[in-house]
């Protein structure tokens, strides 16, 4: 079953390196040429869900003045997350092969 939603998009974006909500939204927007836009309010619930699944793990940065003295919470992909991301990418690629003229 191919289920490519915001979870998959976040996972693919995290392959590029650890990041936090706002930066991940921008990263996905840029990587997809603006075609995929993630709603800001849904990013962290999805990341927390992915953390429970063991696909990502989080850590805090130093407190920042721009965030009112609170730290940023960065997420990075785990080995399990990487396997899932690669499988999803392969599945989507197989699906898109005819459209790409590679069937």
């Amino acid at each position: 079953v191919i289920n490519f939603g915001s979870k998959s998009a976040l996972l693919q974006a995290l392959i590029q390196g650890p990041s936090y909500g706002l930066e991940l939204i921008e990263r996905i927007k840029e990587s997809s040429n603006g075609a995929i836009k993630i709603v800001q309010g849904s990013v962290y619930p999805t990341l927390r869900y992915m953390e429970e699944e063991g696909l990502v793990e989080s850590y805090e940065s130093e407190p920042l003045a721009i965030r009112g003295g609170r730290p940023r919470v960065y997420y990075r992909i785990t080995a399990k997350g990487m396997r899932v991301a690669q499988k999803e990418a392969n599945d989507v690629y197989s699906l898109l092969k005819p459209a790409l003229g590679e069937a």
Binding site: Y20, L22, Y59, R67, R70
Partner: protein, 179 residues
Amino acid sequence: MIWEIMLSILFGVSLLLTLATLRHLKELRIEAENARQRIEMLRAQFGKTRRGALTIGWPRAEIIRRELVAEEERLRQAEKEQSRYQVLIRFLATEAPARKKSALRILNAWGAILPIRLATEDLGDYREDIENRANRGERWLLLLRVLTAILWTGINTVGFISKNLLGKATQSHRKKSPK
């Protein structure tokens, strides 16, 4: 699910009320300005009519005087109603730094009642976004961002607390950054 629907409805109603209030305020401002211009014109006419009363006649002067009284009353009413929205008018008239300060004050108060993780992650991002927008001078979007932040963090809090009650929430975000 029911909470999400209720919060969405609440947000929608608040947004509609805000838009309706802004529209009403705009109408009031236009009405007051029109009344002021008309009063100025009528005063000038009334002065001329009194001076030329012998040629124009007092009935004309009386009509203008009545119109003047009516316009002055209209202006008084518009100004009185406008004064009821002083807080909102002051907020709309403020510059980006002052508005940012108000927006952050609201978010700080809201953050105090949110679970720490949501206040750090979700609300922290909204706060950072508001700071960036204010620095770019986007003062009109700040209020909307505050409303969006309150809506989404409210919805996420309901989900987060429900999950915590079921004992599924994770604590691994407490890990410190790798050196």
